[in-house]
């Protein structure tokens, strides 16, 4: 777990602490020249007249209808990234093998690199950008921060989306390949570490922040204390003088 003091600060004033102060390299990174030249992703895609070979579709992404024209072969991932400017979902392999592109479609997790965009009309698509409620993070997002469930962050959007879906699957009584008793639906309170790992084995993390990820899911599942996996035998070091 991170410094408890820091956690309190984040909960009271997240935007001030992390949003402005520390994510300088996070939110407003583009150089001025780039901003001036930037195309608006929305403006780019308002045309309703499809070019030959393209189709007009309306996708519901993070609660908003988005109209765009695209070829039927375009994946949902490419549509999100290249046309809608939603670059939170990452392209790690483009072959459905790494999980970095995981999004939610009608609440179910889907590798967006294996889903065709034109097939998603009428469905509710949620990307990592749509999980937070304004400034209030989704509990799974909070849990990933609290338990250091990332290093480079590139797989994190997929891990977070997969974890949100995982918890929902448990609530809906879905079994996994290793659920011990198929007559009794698994419960969040006693979801085992092995179950969590089985259910997240489709999301690779090359930094191997896996212990933190397990702990994050345990926290989001309401388990206390979370994180036997992330145990570190540590006494807080003595104050270091300047």
């Amino acid at each position: 777990m991170q410094d408890p003091e820091e956690r309190t600060k984040r909960q009271t004033s997240r935007r001030n602490f992390l949003g402005q102060a520390l994510t300088a390299a996070g939110t407003a990174i583009a150089a001025p020249t780039l901003i001036h030249q930037a195309t608006s992703a929305q403006n780019m895609n308002t045309t309703q007249t499809p070019a030959p070979g393209e189709m007009a579709v309306t996708l519901t992404v993070n609660g908003k209808p988005r109209s765009l024209t695209l070829e039927p072969r375009v994946t949902l991932l490419d549509a999100l990234r290249e046309q809608l400017g939603l670059v939170g979902s990452k392209k790690g392999c483009d072959h459905g093998q790494c999980g970095a592109c995981t999004v939610l479609i009608d609440g179910e997790r889907v590798y967006s690199c294996l889903a065709l965009a034109v097939m998603q009309e009428g469905k509710a698509i949620t990307t990592v950008e749509g999980l937070a409620n304004g400034d209030v993070l989704h509990p799974v997002q909070d849990a990933f921060i609290d338990n250091d469930g990332f290093q480079c962050g590139y797989c994190t959007p997929g891990q977070v989306c997969a974890s949100v879906a995982l918890l929902d699957e448990i609530k809906r009584g879905c079994a996994s390949a290793i659920t011990p008793d198929l007559t009794r639906a698994p419960q969040l309170a006693d979801l085992s570490e092995a179950e969590i790992k089985e259910r997240l084995s489709g999301n690779l993390c090359r930094c191997s922040a896996y212990n933190g990820i397990v702990a994050a899911v345990q926290q989001a599942a309401g388990q206390q204390p979370p994180a036997p996996a992330a145990a570190m035998l540590l006494t807080e070091p003595a104050e270091v003088l300047v």
Partner: protein, 782 residues
Amino acid sequence: MSTVGKRKSHESAEGHVTGKAVYTDEQRPPVGMLSVYPVLAAHARAKITSIDTSAADEVEGLVTVLTAADVPGENDTGAIAHDEILLPTDEVMYWGQAVAWTVGETEDAARLAAQKITVEYEPLPPVLTIQDAIASDSFHTSPQVIRRGDPNAALQTADLCLTGEVGVNGQDHFYLETQTSWVIPDGAGHYQVYSSTQHPTETQIIIARVLGIPTNQVVVTCLRMGGGFGGKESQANPFASVAAIAAYKTGRPVRVKLNRQHDMILTGKRHGFLGHYTVGFSYDGRITALDVDLYADGGWSLDLSPPVLLRAMLHVDNAYYIPNLEVRGRIAKTNTVSNTAFRGFGGPQGMVVIEDIVDRVARSLNLPPDVVRERNFYHGTGETNTTHYGQEIFDNRIARVWSDVQANAEVAERKVAIAQFNQTHTYTKRGLAITPVKFGISFNKTQYNQAGALILIYTDGSIQLNHGGTEMGQGLHTKMLQVAAQTLGVNLNRFRVMPTSTDKVPNTSATAASSGSDLNGQAVKDACETIKSRLAPVAAKMLALDTPEEMVFAEDWIYCRTYPSARVRFEDVVQQAYGDRVSLSATGYYRTPSIYWNAETGRGRPFYYYAYGAAVSEVEVDGFTGTFKLLQVDIVHDVGESLNPLVDQGQIEGGFVQGMGWLTMEELVWDAQGRLRTDAPSTYKIPTISEVPEHFKVQLLERAAQDGVIYGSKAVGEPPLMLAISVREAIRAAIAAFGQPDHVPLTSPATPEATLKAIDYVRTHSTVAAKSSIDPDPALKS
């Protein structure tokens, strides 16, 4: 208030969980940005007889095609030697090498056009393995030698000798973010480059080289990387260079983002190694002499192979005092990708060789391997605590981490339980191993051991922090914020960490060799101290003090140590300093003292200090399938006085798991034509969350402050990777339990296939009875 030493979350934590953190390819694209796509060579080695691009011209959206003729400057991206041609002119050197690049309005257009380019070849016989290279005398370099004592004489007089061979496999970096660069020309001859590079300065120099322009015309900026692991130290350069040539030729912004398959086919990997050795030892398991040849598979060009080989040669002792040792090293030239830096940088390969040897010595004597390891540790002072290259280990902590981890892991009790388990189970066996790590910290190349920083304070008291290191997930920016906040005595929320950029801090070293915090931290501290020395007189004057001495900067206040009740706010002092015309920006600089290396004699002090660790791993091996389950891992690791225990814990866990992947599951397969057959996550298996054991305990060595390093901390990026050798050795121990062997030959990686072969060997080669006569101390058997 102390900022350093706290478990601060990663500075981009919220950006990561919300998807708002911006990597190179997550920026808003500039208008008219083009994409590139490679044309891959169809042979491992061949003469190019023709390149026909005419059919590609018909593809709608194709802008141009890049071949060697389009390179305005030098057609070479070699980092050390100029032997790495960027766009081949007459010969391809490895299968998949990019022969030409198409430039399209879209990636689709570029891809379609690339498919229409026809290249004719005249195939030549390739050299594909280290063995091939030895047989055909194909090397990049002449042999290098480091020698201590007289190994030949010592081998003659040793109680026992063994000769053998150890093969060590390579490893793909598999950073989740593939190689990516954007190059934006301004129309006036300048190039702004955004690159996922661990070495912005080298990327800048090489782009300037291929464009034939002065370095100052190019600015390279690294926002952050989606993983690096050494794979973006030199490997970012050729792809950034291709985008730069396309931008030069078209005058438009260009992006390159390799797809996963191309990334795996085109980029260099961890070096595979081959070791040939003769070891002499006493009846009680003390190694008295070692003669070893190390061959590194350099691939088609030199890249960073010389320092990688040197680090392997300097770590072939690991934690062991070997009084007579000769290590010879040579870099094989093969027709494969050009192998490169990867977390550990040759150190892991050297250590795998010596750990293999130590295990063999132990089993030949029917002694527990951990006992033989312990008997050979560096110890005492002087000769027995000095490496084969003449550096004395002044802060030897091997025995401390070793005893701490054995106590934490309850090794003695578990050994008994494992022996009982193995007696009662015929088809599954358990094994436990303890291995040490002693890893030298500093770039082998002395000149890289320097760093710079730039602090800019604005009149409202907000601060921009620039330093020369890059962020790839290792938490460097977080640690630099902590160092700056600690030194200036201000709150973290005053800071903005700026993207690493060559126009802010020039002539930087790669963020590599685990040195990011050590070097840049000192430079950041130096810049902050400079500013403090300017602000202190201003504050003293505001407090009506005669002298600026003993001014304390703490918790956003400045006061005199002897009159803490009279104090002024940091931002008020900043305002006053501006009014008094006192500069509010400062550079900082650091160079590591006391290190030197004589390449001629193989002697010196190449490392400022060593990092230590020890790991206990226990596995269960299935005798039918050869699969293993990692049951328990306990680690004690020395990070000095941690700058950030949260970040360091992540580095230790992550390094261990990545090392375990390298040694047990990540298998690179090239076929007889030199084609990489494992070019996707479907065929190249990296560890998933399911491979991490439920019991995985990490303890930071206590009372471990390191003198002379930033706030007493130690480097942490690479050393933990080698703790995973304990997994390989635990698998070997479990394999041994299938019989009573005096030797367990286990190839790398220890895949189920390799394990089954080893089990088969053990079942048919159990000769322990013959050796018991030379065992001097049966009581030590466990």
